[in-house]
C-alpha cells in the first residue's frame, strides 16, 4: 500500500510517472477521511488546496523537475502559520485566526513541492505531554484509542502512527516530538536549537522551541530535514551553518562510534524498558559501536529547571493574545481590563493558564533571582554536563519515555506526574542539542522509543545511527491494527 512506502520510494514512483501527486494526495485524503474521526489527529483539512498543490507538483514533475519532496503529501502541526488557513495552536483564543503568512518551515516545504493535507491537533500552545489540553479535544493513540498519543505534537504522531501522511511536522520544546513519536511507534527528530527557523512557528518558550519532523523512518526524516533546515534572516536565533546532505550521509559507518549510556536515565527505570534499551545497545555493538556508561550529574534537575524557564518565557510570549488585534475577544467588554481578563480567561485553557501564572510568578520582583536566575544557572550546568560527556562519547542513548502511552484522563489532573513524563527528553532542549526517538520495541503491545542525543549540529550522525538501527531491526515497520 502507498502509505507504507518510504518517501524515497514515493518520490521514485512520482518521478517514473507510475503515480501522480494528485493520486497520492487523494489516497491520503481518503485515509484521513476514513480514519481521522477515530483519532482526532487532524483539526483542519485543506482538501482543495492540497489537490491544487498536487496538480502543481504534477506539472513540475511533468516538466522534468525532480525533488525529494516534490509531490509528497504532509501534515503540518497547527503551530505553524499557514497563509490563508486557520492556525489555532490548539487554542480557543486562536480558533478564528486565519494566518496571513506562511512560517519559514511552511514556505520551504511548499517551495520543495510538498503538498499540505491539513493541520494536526496539538496540546494547546504546545503545553502538554498527552494532547489532552487541546481546545479541539484529545487525540487518540492508534495503538489503543483509549490511550494518549503523547504531546504536544500528538496529532502529528497519531497521524504518522496511523499512516495518514508520509510525514508530519512537529515542534519540540521539552520532548514534544520525541515523546509522542515514541508512544506512537514512529521516528521523530528534534534538531539542534537554531537549525530550523522558528519564524512563523507560534512561540511557547523561545529559547527551547525547535521545529522538527515525525516520519516512518530515519531515512525519511533525513529527506525532510534537509529541506526544513537552514539559516533564516527572519529568525535571529537561527544559525548560519551549512545544511549537510543528510540522505547522502546515512551510511556513515558506525564502526568505532562511541555510544554513551546515561546512568541517570537508568536510575529507577522500569525493567522491561531497560531491557529494550539493552537490546538496542546490543544491536549497536553488533554494528561496530562501542558502548560505555556516562554520567550527567545535573540532569536530574532538568524537570524543575524546565518548569521555571519555559513558563517564564511563555508568560511573556502569550501576552500578545489580548483580544485586541486578532483571535478570540470576549463578548461585550465593559472596559479595557475586562477585555483583557475575559478574553484571556475564556480564550486560554487550564494548563496554559497554569504556566502563565507560574511564569509570571518566577519573573516577579523578589522571586526572579530565586527562580529564574537560579534556573538559568542550572541550565548552564546541565549544558556543561552534556559538553563534558561529548568529550568522551559521540552519541548518548537512553529511553525516550519512562512508560508506554497512558490512558486518556489518567494524568491530566495531576500536572507534576504529567510533567515527569518528559524527564528524559527535556535535557536536550535545555542544552539546545539534537535528539531523536526511534521505535525499539513494545511493552504490553504499546510501542516504546529509543532516544539518541548528539552534540550540536550532529543531526547527520543521529540520522545515520538511527537509519542503521532501523536496517537491523523491524520495530519501525510495525503498524497498529486497523491502520495497515
Amino acid at each position: 500500500m502507498l502509505h507504507n512506502h518510504s518517501i524515497g520510494e514515493l518520490a521514485d514512483r512520482l518521478a517514473a510517472g507510475q503515480i501522480s501527486s494528485v493520486e497520492l494526495t487523494g489516497h491520503f485524503l481518503a485515509r484521513i477521511e476514513r480514519l481521522n474521526p477515530g483519532l482526532n489527529a487532524l483539526i483542519t483539512l485543506t482538501t482543495e488546496q492540497a489537490l491544487e498543490s498536487a496538480a502543481a507538483a504534477d506539472r513540475r514533475l511533468a516538466a522534468g523537475e525532480r525533488g525529494r519532496l516534490l509531490g509528497i503529501p504532509l501534515i503540518h502541526k497547527d503551530i505553524f502559520c499557514t497563509d490563508g488557513v486557520r492556525t489555532s495552536c490548539g487554542s480557543r483564543i486562536l480558533d478564528n485566526f486565519i494566518a496571513p503568512y506562511d512560517a519559514t518551515v511552511v514556505t520551504r516545504l511548499k517551495a520543495a513541492g510538498a503538498v499540505m493535507l491539513g493541520k494536526a491537533n496539538m496540546d494547546e500552545f504546545a503545553m502538554g505531554s498527552s494532547n489532552e489540553t487541546s481546545f479541539y479535544g484529545p487525540v487518540r493513540n492508534p495503538w489503543d484509542t483509549t490511550r494518549v498519543p503523547g504531546g504536544s505534537s500528538g496529532g502529528s504522531a497519531a497521524a504518522m502512527g496511523a499512516r495518514l501522511a508520509p510525514f508530519c511536522t512537529g515542534t519540540d520544546t521539552g520532548g514534544s516530538i520525541r515523546q509522542p513519536a515514541a508512544l506512537t511507534g514512529v521516528t521523530g527528530i528534534k534538531p539542534t536549537y537554531g537549525r530550523v527557523s522558528r519564524y512563523g512557528m507560534i512561540a511557547f518558550a523561545s529559547s527551547l522551541d525547535q521545529a522538527g519532523v515525525l516520519t516512518r523512518t530515519a531515512a525519511d526524516a533525513a529527506a525532510v530535514l534537509e529541506i526544513m533546515a537552514g539559516f533564516d534572516p527572519k529568525d535571529s536565533t537561527s544559525v548560519d551553518v551549512p545544511v549537510p546532505d543528510y540522505p547522502a550521509l546515512l551510511e556513515q559507518p558506525l564502526k568505532g562510534l562511541r555510544i554513551g549510556l546515561l546512568r541517570e536515565f537508568f536510575d529507577g527505570l522500569e525493567a522491561r524498558n531497560a531491557a529494550l534499551i539493552e537490546e538496542a545497545l546490543r544491536v549497536y555493538r553488533s554494528l561496530g559501536a562501542k558502548t560505555m556508561e556516562v554520567s550527567l550529574p545535573h540532569l536530574p534537575l532538568s524537570v524543575p529547571t524546565y518548569y521555571v524557564v519555559a513558563p517564564a518565557e511563555c508568560s511573556s510570549n502569550l501576552s500578545r493574545f489580548d483580544g485586541v488585534r486578532y483571535g478570540y475577544r470576549c463578548a461585550q467588554p465593559k472596559d479595557l481590563t475586562d477585555l483583557y481578563k475575559r478574553s484571556r480567561g475564556e480564550g486560554f485553557g487550564a494548563e496554559v493558564k497554569r504556566r502563565i501564572m507560574t511564569g509570571t510568578y518566577v519573573l516577579s520582583a523578589g522571586y526572579f533571582d530565586a527562580y529564574y536566575l537560579k534556573a538559568q544557572k542550572v541550565r548552564r550546568l546541565i549544558t556543561e554536563d552534556f559538553r563534558a560527556a561529548f568529550q568522551k562519547v559521540d552519541l548518548l542513548v537512553g529511553p525516550t519515555t519512562p512508560t508506554p502511552a497512558f490512558a486518556i484522563g489518567a494524568k491530566i489532573d495531576d500536572p507534576v506526574t504529567m510533567y515527569l513524563n518528559d524527564i528524559y527528553t527535556i535535557g536536550a532542549n535545555l542544552a539546545g542539542l539534537p535528539g531523536m526517538s526511534v521505535p525499539c520495541g513494545f511493552i504490553d503491545g504499546l510501542p516504546m522509543g529509543l532516544q539518541l542525543i548528539g552534540p550540536h549540529f550532529s543531526e547527520d550522525r543521529l540520522l545515520g545511527a538511527a537509519h542503521q538501527f532501523q536496517r537491523a531491526t523491524r520495530w519501525h515497520e510495525k503498524v497498529p491494527g486497523g491502520y495497515e
Binding site: 494566518a99 512561540a203 511573556s316 488585534r325
Partner: protein, 481 residues
C-alpha cells in the same frame, strides 16, 4: 526658599532617524495614515520574530562616542512586560541590565558663563510604543501602531542638575548633539525628542536625596522649565506645610501650568524584565567602534572652541553659532567669503538680523529666505563702505521679503553711501547754517547736541552719508567756529 535645593535628573527619549524600525522592516516616517506603517512584526502577529536593525546600533554608538561614554562590547535586549493596547506584544523590547552606552558626560554653559559637567548614567536602545487615539471615536479607542517599533535611544542623566535652567541647558545640549550627529531630527512637536524629569528637594547641604516625583509630557524646553519650577514650588510647599513628597509619576498640563499625579509607586507595574530569548546579545568589536568613530562630525564644543580661537568670538557667541550644525555652517560660509577679519561682523548678523527673521517667520535655517551667499554679498557692501550697517538692515529686510540680491536693492533704491567728503561737507554747512541756536548751545558746552547734528545730516542725505566720515567732518566743522 533659600533653605531648599532642587535635585534634577532627566530621561530623554530620542527617536533615532533610521529609515526602518528597530526590529522590523516597516518605514518610520511620521504622519502616515494610521496603521499603514505597521507590518506583522509591529502588530505582534503569532509566530513573528524581531530582527535587530544594525543602523540603530551605529547611531547609539555614535552618541556614546560623542559624550565620551564607555561602549559596551556586549549588550542585551530584555523584555519589559506590561499590558497596554498600544503595546502589541504585551512587552517592550528594551535594554535593561546591559545597555549599549555606559557612563559618559557633557559640559553645559550656564547663563552666567559658568561651565558645568553633567553626568550621563547610560543610554540604551528600545522600541517605541504605538499611540491610542480617542478623538472622533464614539465610545471606542483607536490604536495607531505606525510608531510601534520606532527605535529610541533613552538617555538617562545623573541627578546632577540643581535648577530648572540647568536642566534646560542640559536638554538643549543633548538636543544640539543628536542633531549634529544626525541620529535624531529633534522634533519635539512630533515627539521625536521627549523628556521626563525626576525632581526632588533637599535641605541645602544635605547628602541624601529627597523622594522624587517623575514628571512626564514635557514636549518643549519652555514646558520643561515651567514644569520643574512648578514642581519645586509644589514640593517645598508640601514639605513646609508638614507633608511628604510621595514617589509617583506626574503629568505636566501645559494649559494649566501644573503637574498632576498619574500613578503612585504602589500602582506601578512589576515589569518582570528578563533577557529576550528571540534576540542574541549584541556583540561589537573595536573595528565596528572605530568605523563609527570615523563618521563623527566636528562636535559642537570643538566647533565653538575653534570659532572662539580662530575668529576671536566670545565663548557665548561661539556657543550660539554652534547650536545647530546648519547655523555653524551658514556662519562659516560667511566668514569664508568675507575673510576672518570680518568674522565678528558675520557673527553679529547671524545672531542678530538673520536669527530674528528666522524666529519671526518660524523657519529653520535650511529654509532661510536669504542664503549665506546672498548675505555675504550684503555684508561685503558694508565692508567696502557702499552702504552703512544701518542701511544694510533695511536692505536685508527687503532681500528677505522680495528675494532680490543686495546689489539690486541698493541700486534700485539708490542707497549707495555718500563717501565724497565735499558732498558731505556741503550738507553739513547747510545744516549748521539752518540751526544757529543749536550751534551756539553746542559751542557753549552742550556736547549732547552733536547727535542732533548727525541726525539732521543723515535726514538730509536719506541716511546715506558714510557715518565715520560724517563724524569726523562734523566734529571739525562744529569746532571750527
Amino acid at each position: 526658599m533659600a533653605d531648599w535645593e532642587v535635585v534634577i535628573g532627566l530621561e530623554i527619549h530620542a527617536q533615532l532617524a533610521t529609515k526602518s524600525k528597530i526590529f522590523s522592516g516597516s518605514a518610520t516616517a511620521y504622519g502616515a495614515a494610521p496603521n499603514t506603517q505597521a507590518n506583522l512584526v509591529d502588530l505582534a502577529y503569532p509566530g513573528v520574530l524581531p530582527v535587530f536593525n544594525a543602523e540603530a546600533l551605529r547611531m547609539a554608538v555614535k552618541f556614546g562616542l560623542a559624550i565620551g561614554a564607555t561602549i559596551a562590547r556586549r549588550s542585551i535586549f530584555a523584555r519589559k512586560n506590561y499590558f497596554y493596547p498600544d503595546l502589541p506584544k504585551g512587552y517592550q523590547i528594551s535594554q535593561y541590565e546591559q545597555p549599549v552606552v555606559g557612563k559618559g558626560s557633557l559640559a553645559v554653559v550656564l547663563d552666567d558663563g559658568a561651565v558645568k559637567t553633567i553626568g550621563v548614567t547610560r543610554a540604551h536602545l528600545e522600541e517605541d510604543a504605538g499611540k491610542s487615539l480617542h478623538e472622533g471615536l464614539a465610545n471606542a479607542s483607536g490604536i495607531d501602531l505606525n510608531r510601534a517599533g520606532t527605535p529610541l535611544l533613552e538617555i538617562v542623566s545623573e541627578p546632577d542638575m540643581r535648577s530648572a535652567k540647568e536642566a534646560v541647558a542640559y536638554v538643549k545640549k543633548i538636543h544640539t548633539l543628536v542633531r549634529y550627529l544626525e541620529i535624531c531630527d529633534g522634533n519635539m512637536q512630533e515627539g521625536s525628542f521627549r523628556c521626563d524629569a525626576n525632581v526632588s528637594m533637599r535641605r541645602r547641604g544635605a547628602d541624601k536625596f529627597g523622594t522624587r516625583a517623575e514628571i512626564k509630557n514635557l514636549n518643549s524646553f519652555r514646558f520643561l522649565e515651567k514644569a520643574i519650577q512648578f514642581e519645586i514650588a509644589r514640593q517645598i510647599e508640601l514639605i513646609e506645610s508638614g507633608g511628604m513628597v510621595v514617589q509617583e509619576t506626574r503629568l505636566y498640563d501645559s494649559d494649566k501650568n501644573e503637574t498632576r499625579s498619574m500613578r503612585s509607586k504602589e500602582e506601578a507595574n512589576d515589569y518582570r524584565y528578563f533577557p529576550d530569548p528571540d534576540l542574541l546579545p549584541v556583540e561589537i568589536d573595536e573595528e565596528f567602534i572605530d568605523g563609527v568613530r570615523a563618521t563623527l562630525p566636528e562636535l559642537p564644543d570643538e566647533k565653538a572652541a575653534r570659532f572662539a580661537g580662530d575668529f576671536g568670538l566670545s565663548a557665548y557667541d561661539a556657543g550660539v553659532l554652534c547650536a545647530s550644525r546648519e547655523l555653524g555652517a551658514y556662519f562659516e560660509s560667511l566668514v569664508e567669503a568675507l575673510g576672518a577679519a570680518h568674522a565678528k561682523l558675520a557673527a553679529n548678523w547671524v545672531m542678530g538680523e538673520l536669527s530674528s527673521a528666522l524666529n519671526r517667520d518660524n523657519v529653520e535655517i535650511g529654509a532661510a529666505r536669504v542664503s549665506a551667499a546672498d548675505l555675504s554679498a550684503l555684508l561685503g557692501r558694508i565692508v567696502d563702505a557702499t552702504i552703512s550697517g544701518k542701511i544694510a538692515k533695511d536692505v536685508f529686510e527687503a532681500m528677505w521679503s522680495e528675494g532680490k540680491t543686495a546689489d539690486d536693492i541698493i541700486e534700485a533704491r539708490g542707497l549707495r553711501q555718500i563717501t565724497d567728503a565735499g558732498a558731505i561737507e556741503s550738507v553739513i554747512d547747510a545744516v549748521i547754517a539752518a540751526n544757529p541756536k543749536q550751534l551756539a548751545d553746542y559751542r557753549a558746552g552742550k556736547d549732547k547736541l552733536f547727535g542732533f547734528f548727525v541726525g539732521q545730516v543723515m535726514k538730509a542725505t536719506g541716511g546715506k552719508a558714510n557715518p565715520a566720515q560724517l563724524n569726523d567732518l562734523l566734529k571739525a566743522k562744529l569746532a571750527a567756529g
